[in-house]
C-alpha cells in the first residue's frame, strides 16, 4: 500500500513489496531488492482535518514518490559493508529521506531528513494584520465594537452579528426595548468597518528535522554511539489573549511559532564479561526566535499589550548505567542521571509590557532559572529456581528547582492602579502600590520521588503463573525559597498491591487476569496557595494586629473563612478585618487582585487521597488453524474519597475484540471492535458573600423564586453556605471504534492483490450539570424603573442545563490494489474515502454573535467527505 495512506487515518498498513508470482529462488531471497515507486494522486476536496498530518489538505493533484535502495557486500562475502537509502512521500510536505551506510561491527552512519505538517485550522479568521510576526495590528478603520442599545462604552463582540447585535434590551424602566434607528446605524457602521477586516488565516505548523548519527564499534567491548538532531518548527497557531481581566475580554491571536531545537546524544558503552557499563550525555537546546507577541487592543487601538512566548531553554544531562549478571538467573542493574535545565531569557520589561502592568519595575532582569534533576534506579532480578521469578527495584527521582525566588509587582491586564495597598511603603514594597496591585512571588516547584517495587511470580502449573506485587511510592513536594510550603500535599504516600494470573498455551488459549489496588494518602494543606503572596505573612495597614496567615493559624481557618453564614452579631478586631461577615479573606490583605483561595475540602486530584482499583484481562484464543479471537478488557476506578470538591471520581473501562480469519494464505479477514467509556465527576460550590442586603433593584423587590431561600435577605445571610449553590458536573466519553480489513492475494494467476480496510469511529462526550444559579430578574431595577408587582420574584433560581453533546463520527474506506505487470514492474492503486461529521460547542462558540466578550474567530468544526486516490508504478531491481 502507499505509504501516504498512512497519513489518512487508515488503521492498518502494509509495506508489502510488489506481488511477485515467480517462485522464489535462493538468490531472490538473499539479494536486496531496490524499488522505485512513482505516480500521481489526487484529492477531491480541501480540509485541514483530512490532511491534518498527511499533507493531503488541499484538493488537486500530488506526486507519489517513494524509493528504497539497499546494497553493499553480499552475505557470504568477506566484507561487512552495507548501505541503504529510503525516501517516502516525496511529493508531499510529509516527506522523509533516510540514508545509512557502514561496516557492520565497525561503524554505522545514518542521516535522515523529515517533514511533519500539523494542520490546525482552515476556517480561522482574524482582523489582526501581521500574522506570522510578533506585532499584530488592527485595520486602520477599526471601530470599537459595542451594542449601543446595551452600552455604548462596553465592548460587545455580538455587535458583529446583525441579528445578535440588534437584540432588544431592558431599559432602565424595565421595558424591553429595541434599538433605535441611530443605534442600528451605529451597529451597521461597526459591521461595515470591522467585519470585512476579518481575513482567513490558515493555521498550521511544520517541523523540519535533520538527524545524523554514528555508531562506532571501537572494539568488541566498546561502542560509541553519537547522534545529533536539529529541528525547526514554524507556522501559526491560535492563542487566546486577555485584553481586560476585569471585563474578561479576550481575543484569539494568530501567534507565530518559530522554534529551533537541537538535541545531541553521545555515549560510551563498555562490556566486560557479564558487566555492562554505559556513560551517556544528552543535550537539548531550545530557541524561540520570537520572544513575544504584541497586539493592539480591540477596545482601544491606541493601547497594546504583550504576551510572552515560551523562553529559550537548555538541558544538559549525564547518565550512567551498570548491569551485572551474576549468574544466569540473577541480575543487578543500577542506573542514574544528573541533569541541569537552565533558562535565562531577558524578561519583557515595563516598556514592552504595555498598559502599565509593570509600572513598579522588575526585581531582576531575567529569571536565572535552574532545575537540577537526578535519578538513581536499581533493579535486581532473580530466578532462584524454576518455580520462582523475583524482582526488586528502587527508584529515586528528584526535580530540584533552584530558581531564585523574587517578589514581582504587577497590575492585571488593562487595569489601572486604584486605591492604596495596605502594604504600600512597608516591608520593602513600593510606596505607590494600589490596592489592586498584585504582589506575587514565584514558586520554584520541586518534587522528590522515592519508589520501591517488589514482585514475586510463582509457576503454579505448566505454563501458568501467579504473581503478587507491591509498590510503595512517596512524593515530597517543596518550593525552595518560598516563605511557606507551596505544595497542596507536602508528602503523599501510595501503596499498591497487585495480583496477576496468566497462562500461555500453544494453539488454543492464552489468558491473563490482573488486579491492583492502590491507596494514596497525604496531608493536604489548604493554605499552600499563600506561597504565591508573601504579604500574607505581613501585617497589613488598617488596624490588623497580625498577618493574614497568622490570623488563619490562630483561628484554624483557611482563607475561605468560617463555613458559616452572616454572624449573629458584628465581628470585631482581626475577625472583622480578615473574615468580615464570615466571608473569605479580602484579597488586598494578602496583595492579590484575585481571590485565590480554594474551597475547604477541595483537593487537587494529582495530590488528593485516592483509592484506585485497576483490572486487566486478556484472552487469546486460536480457535482453529484459521481463526483466532482476541479479547481484552481494562478497568480503572479512581476514587478521590476525601475530596469534597474538585474531581471526585474517574472511572474508565474499555473492551476490545479482534477476530482474524485466514481462509488461506491468500485470503485474510480481520475485524475489531473497541468500546471505551470514561466517566468523570467533579463537584463545586458557587458560594457567594454573606451580606445584609435585602433586595435587588428596589426595596420591595425581595422575593426569590426557587432556590433554598424565599427572600433575598435570607439568601444573602447564608450566601456562603447556601446548599443550592453546590453543583456537580459529570463528563462521559463513549467511543466505539470498529475496523474491518480484507486482503486477497493470488488473483489473476497470482498477479493481482486486493485489500480493503474500513474504519468507523463514533465518539460522544456528554457533560451533565446538576445545580443552578441565582439570576436577577431583569425587571428588578433601581428607580426610576417601577418596583416589581407584588408577588413577582426579584431573583430566579435557574437550574443549570447540560452541555451540548460533543460528537465525532468518522468513517474511512481504503481499498488498494497491486498488479504485477512484469516481473519487475507492479502497478499500484489506492483509493480512500473519508467522511467526518463533528460538532463541538467550542467551535460554535467562536462564531459571530455567540460570545459578547471574546473576539470571534469563526473557526468551524471539521465536516467533510473527501476522496483521495492515486496510481503509481513500482519498479523493482
Amino acid at each position: 500500500m502507499f505509504s501516504l495512506l498512512a497519513g489518512s487515518r487508515s488503521y492498518a498498513y502494509s509495506q508489502a513489496p510488489a506481488a511477485s508470482p515467480p517462485a522464489p529462488t535462493a538468490a531472490s531471497q538473499t539479494t536486496p531488492t531496490n524499488t522505485v515507486d512513482a505516480g500521481v494522486g489526487g484529492v477531491s476536496g480541501s480540509s485541514f482535518k483530512f490532511g491534518e498530518y498527511n499533507g493531503l489538505q488541499n484538493s488537486g493533484p500530488f506526486g507519489i514518490g517513494n524509493f528504497d535502495f539497499r546494497g553493499g557486500a553480499a552475505y557470504d562475502s568477506k566484507s561487512t559493508w552495507r548501505w541503504q537509502m529510503r525516501g517516502r512521500n516525496l511529493g508531499l510536505e510529509t516527506r522523509s529521506l533516510y540514508a545509512e551506510f557502514g561496516k557492520q561491527g565497525k561503524y554505522q552512519f545514518f542521516l535522515s531528513y523529515s517533514e511533519l505538517l500539523a494542520n490546525r485550522s482552515d476556517t480561522y479568521q482574524t482582523p489582526y494584520l501581521g500574522a506570522g510576526t510578533g506585532n499584530l495590528t488592527l485595520p486602520s478603520n477599526w471601530i470599537f465594537p459595542a451594542a449601543p442599545q446595551a452600552s455604548a462604552t462596553k465592548l460587545n463582540f455580538r455587535a458583529f452579528d446583525p441579528f445578535a447585535g440588534a437584540g432588544s434590551v431592558y431599559n432602565k424602566l424595565g421595558v424591553l426595548t429595541a434599538p433605535t434607528t441611530a443605534q442600528l446605524a451605529t451597529l451597521a457602521s461597526i459591521i461595515a468597518a470591522d467585519v470585512p477586516g476579518f481575513q482567513s488565516v490558515y493555521l498550521s505548523t511544520k517541523r523540519t528535522r535533520v538527524d545524523a548519527g554514528l555508531l562506532y564499534n571501537a572494539s568488541d567491548r566498546l561502542d560509541i554511539p553519537l547522534s545529533y538532531t536539529y529541528e525547526h518548527k514554524s507556522g501559526l497557531k491560535a492563542l487566546g489573549a486577555v485584553t481586560s481581566q476585569v471585563a474578561e475580554n479576550s481575543v484569539t491571536l494568530p501567534t507565530p511559532v518559530d522554534f529551533d531545537t537541537s538535541q545531541a546524544n553521545a555515549a560510551a558503552n563498555y562490556k566486560f564479561k557479564h558487566l555492562y557499563l554505559s556513560l551517556a550525555y544528552y543535550g537539548s537546546f531550545f530557541t524561540d526566535n520570537v520572544s513575544s507577541v504584541t497586539w493592539q487592543d480591540v477596545a482601544d487601538p491606541t493601547k497594546s499589550a504583550t504576551l510572552a512566548n515560551p523562553p529559550s531553554n537548555q538541558f544538559n544531562q549525564f547518565t550512567f548505567m551498570a548491569a551485572e549478571k551474576f549468574k544466569d538467573n540473577m541480575k543487578l542493574v543500577v542506573s542514574g542521571s544528573y541533569g541541569r535545565n537552565t533558562q535565562n531569557d531577558p524578561f519583557l520589561g515595563p516598556s514592552t509590557a504595555a498598559n502599565g502592568q509593570l509600572a513598579f519595575g522588575l526585581p531582576v532582569p531575567s529569571l536565572n532559572g535552574l532545575v537540577v534533576s537526578s535519578l538513581v534506579n536499581a533493579k535486581f532480578t532473580a530466578k532462584p529456581n524454576k518455580k520462582w521469578n523475583l524482582v526488586a527495584a528502587y527508584k529515586f527521582f528528584n526535580r530540584d528547582n533552584q530558581t531564585p525566588v523574587h517578589t514581582y509587582f504587577f497590575q492585571d491586564a488593562n487595569e489601572t492602579k486604584s486605591g492604596a495597598s495596605p502594604f504600600a511603603g512597608l516591608y520593602g514594597v513600593p510606596a505607590g502600590l494600589g490596592s489592586n496591585t498584585n504582589i506575587y512571588q514565584n514558586r520554584a516547584y520541586s518534587e522528590m520521588t522515592n519508589q520501591a517495587d517488589g514482585e514475586a511470580e510463582y509457576t503454579i502449573a505448566k505454563k501458568q503463573w501467579l504473581k503478587a506485587s507491591y509498590q510503595w511510592q512517596k512524593i515530597d513536594r517543596t518550593c525552595p525559597g518560598s516563605w511557606i510550603g507551596c505544595a497542596d500535599a507536602r508528602t503523599t504516600d501510595e501503596h499498591t498491591l497487585g495480583a496477576d494470573w496468566r497462562r500461555t498455551s500453544v494453539g488454543s488459549l492464552t489468558g491473563r487476569v490482573s488486579y491492583a489496588y492502590s491507596w494514596r494518602r497525604g496531608a493536604y494543606n489548604e493554605d499552600a496557595f499563600l506561597a504565591l503572596v508573601p504579604m500574607a505573612n505581613q501585617i497589613p495597614a488598617g488596624g490588623a494586629t497580625e498577618s493574614a496567615f497568622a490570623y488563619l493559624q490562630a483561628t484554624g481557618l483557611t482563607a475561605y473563612g468560617p463555613i458559616a453564614g452572616l454572624p449573629s452579631s458584628p465581628l470585631t478586631g482581626n475577625a472583622a478585618i480578615f473574615t468580615p461577615n464570615n466571608n473569605i479573606v479580602p484579597q488586598s490583605l494578602y496583595g492579590s487582585r484575585n481571590n485565590i483561595n480554594e474551597l475547604p475540602g477541595m483537593r487537587r486530584y494529582m495530590e488528593a487521597d485516592r483509592n484506585r482499583h485497576k483490572a486487566l484481562s486478556d484472552l487469546d484464543w486460536q480457535a482453529t488453524d484459521k481463526l483466532s479471537i482476541h479479547g481484552n478488557g481494562e478497568y480503572t476506578d479512581d476514587d478521590y474519597l476525601n475530596s469534597a470538591y474538585g474531581l471526585k471520581k474517574d472511572v474508565f473501562w474499555a473492551a476490545s475484540m479482534d477476530a482474524s480469519y485466514a481462509a488461506s494464505e491468500n485470503l485474510v479477514a480481520d475485524v475489531f471492535y473497541t468500546y471505551d467509556n470514561r466517566r468523570l465527576l467533579t463537584r463545586g460550590d458557587a458560594y457567594g458573600s454573606n451580606s445584609t442586603t435585602a433586595f435587588v433593584g428596589q426595596a420591595a423587590d425581595t422575593l426569590i423564586s426557587g432556590g433554598c431561600y424565599p427572600t433575598v435577605v435570607a439568601r444573602n445571610a447564608s450566601a456562603k453556605i447556601d446548599p443550592c449553590l453546590n453543583f456537580s458536573k459529570g463528563d462521559r466519553d463513549k467511543i466505539d471504534t470498529l475496523g474491518f480489513s480484507l486482503s486477497r492475494k493470488g488473483l489473476l494467476s497470482g498477479n493481482l492483490e486486493l485489500a480493503t480496510q474500513v474504519l468507523y469511529t463514533r465518539a460522544r462526550t456528554d457533560t451533565s450539570v446538576l445545580g443552578g444559579s441565582y439570576v436577577n430578574n431583569p425587571l428588578a431595577l433601581a428607580a426610576p424603573a417601577p418596583p416589581l408587582a407584588s408577588g413577582i420574584a426579584a431573583v430566579f433560581f435557574i437550574p443549570a442545563v447540560n452541555y451540548p453533546t460533543v460528537r465525532d463520527d468518522e468513517i474511512t474506506v481504503s481499498p488498494t490494489a497491486q498488479y504485477v505487470i512484469k516481473k519487475k514492474t507492479t502497478l499500484k492503486a489506492f483509493y480512500q474515502f473519508q467522511r467526518m461529521m463533528s460538532s463541538d460547542w467550542i467551535y460554535l462558540g467562536m462564531q459571530y454573535g455567540s460570545g459578547a466578550n471574546f473576539l470571534p474567530s469563526n473557526e468551524k468544526a471539521p465536516n467533510y467527505a473527501i476522496s483521495a486516490g492515486g496510481l503509481s508504478l513500482v519498479y523493482a531491481f
Binding site: A6, G7, A12, Y13, P24, T25, A26, P32, A73, Y75, D76, T80, G105, S114, Q245, E248, S250, T261, Q263, K271, H274, A308, P310, P311, N313, K331, V333, S337, N341, L358, G369, V371, F380, F410, Q411, A487, V506, N597, M602, Q622, H630, N632, L647, A654, S656, T674, D676, G684, D731, I735, S773, V775, P778, L779, F796, I798, P804, E810, W841, M846
Partner: protein, 325 residues
C-alpha cells in the same frame, strides 16, 4: 627500592590485563563457539529450510543477522539451538521454536534467552529488559520482531503501531480519535515515547519521567518558567491523554470542566451551565425573559478558560502569574 616496587606493579598490571583479556575472549566466544555459525554450519538447516519453504527463511541473509563477515553474526543454531534430535529426525522439533503459530513454540523465556545471548549486554544492549513490564508479562522478542524479515514491521515507523496494537487494543482505538498524535503517519511511532525493552521511566517511557519524554518534542514547555503551573511541572498526563482524545489538544476533559477539577476560587467557583450555548438548550426566566445576555458565560463558551489563561504551561512574563501573559 622504588624501581623494584614499580616493576612489581607493572607486572601485576600486565598479569591482570592478560587474565582479563583471556577471560573476556573466552567469555565472549564461548557462547558462539558451541555452534557453527558459518554458512557451512547453516547448511545443516538450509538444506531443508530453503527458498521453497512456506515462509521466507533465507531472507535473513539480507538482514544484520546475515552478515557473515561480522564475527558477531549468529548462525541458525545460535538461535534455534543445536537441535541434534531435529537434525537426526526432522519430525522432532528444534531446540528453540519461534514460529508464532507453531504448536511447538518454545516458551517466552527460552525464545528470549536466544536473543539475550547477544543482546543482553553486548550488541544493542537491552540491560533494562530483565524485570521490565514486557518481560514480566511473558512477552517474547519474537512476538514483535521477525528476525528473518528484510523489512520488519516493528522497525518501520508507519507499520509499528500495528505490532503494538496486537496487544494494546485500547490504545489502538485511542489513536483514531479526533485529537491525536501523528502516530498512524509514522511521524510519532510508539517508540518515539516508549522503549519497549525497558527503561528508567514509568510506562516504559524513553526518558526517566513523563515530562522529560514529552520535552523531547515539546521543548518549549520545559522552562523553567517564572510562573510555573504545578500540575504541568508534575506530570503532563494530569491534563493530557497522549494516545488520543475527543478534545484538542489531547485533553482529558473539555475546559472549563478540566480547570474546575482543581480550581474553586474566584470565577472558577462558578457553575457554568450549558444554557444558551449554540446547539444547546435555551433557558429563560419564568418562560418569558431570555437570559441570553447573561449566559453563556465566556468561561463556559468557546475556548472558555483558555481564552484568557492561554499560557497555561507556564509564563515567563513578569505579569504572567495568572497565565494570561
Amino acid at each position: 627500592m622504588h624501581k623494584l616496587r614499580r616493576k612489581k606493579m607493572h607486572k601485576l598490571i600486565r598479569l591482570f590485563l592478560i587474565c582479563a583479556s583471556v577471560s573476556v575472549l573466552f567469555g565472549s566466544l564461548s557462547a558462539l563457539a558451541q555452534v557453527d555459525r558459518s554458512l557451512e554450519g547453516d547448511q545443516k538447516c538450509t538444506l531443508c529450510h530453503n527458498e521453497s519453504w512456506s515462509t521466507p527463511i533465507l531472507t535473513i541473509y539480507q538482514t544484520k543477522h546475515g552478515v557473515k563477515a561480522d564475527e558477531r553474526t549468529p548462525g541458525c543454531q545460535s538461535c534455534h539451538g543445536a537441535s541434534a534430535s531435529h537434525l537426526g529426525d526432522p519430525t522432532t522439533k528444534p531446540d528453540v521454536v519461534f514460529g508464532a503459530k507453531s504448536k511447538n513454540i518454545s516458551s517466552a523465556v527460552e525464545r528470549n534467552a536466544s536473543c539475550l545471548t547477544c543482546h543482553e549486554s553486548s550488541v544493542r544492549a537491552r540491560s533494562h529488559w530483565a524485570g521490565s513490564q514486557h518481560e514480566r508479562h511473558g512477552v517474547a522478542c519474537t512476538d514483535c520482531h521477525e528476525a528473518h524479515a528484510v523489512k520488519q514491521k516493528v522497525l518501520d515507523p508507519v507499520t509499528q503501531p500495528q505490532v503494538c496494537a496486537k496487544c494494546h487494543k485500547a490504545e489502538d482505538a485511542q489513536i483514531h480519535r479526533f485529537s491525536r498524535h501523528p502516530i498512524l503517519e509514522g511521524k510519532v511511532p510508539c517508540s518515539s515515547c516508549h522503549n519497549v525493552h525497558g527503561s528508567d521511566g514509568p510506562k516504559l517511557l524513553i526518558k526517566e519521567s513523563v515530562n522529560e519524554t514529552c520535552y523531547t518534542c515539546h521543548a518549549e514547555k520545559r522552562g523553567p518558567f517564572l510562573w510555573e503551573h504545578a500540575p504541568v511541572v508534575d506530570d503532563c498526563t494530569n491534563c493530557h491523554t497522549p494516545h488520543g482524545s475527543n478534545f484538542s489538544p489531547l485533553l482529558k476533559m473539555r475546559s472549563p470542566m478540566l480547570c474546575q477539577s482543581c480550581h474553586s476560587g474566584d470565577h472558577a467557583k462558578n457553575l457554568y451551565s450549558g444554557a444558551n450555548l449554540p446547539n444547546g438548550d435555551v433557558t429563560t426566566a419564568i418562560g418569558q425573559i431570555p437570559l441570553g445576555s447573561q449566559s453563556p458565560a465566556a468561561q463556559g463558551n468557546g475556548r472558555s478558560c483558555l481564552a484568557c489563561h492561554s499560557t497555561i504551561h507556564g509564563s515567563n512574563h513578569p505579569a504572567g502569574a495568572k497565565f494570561q501573559r
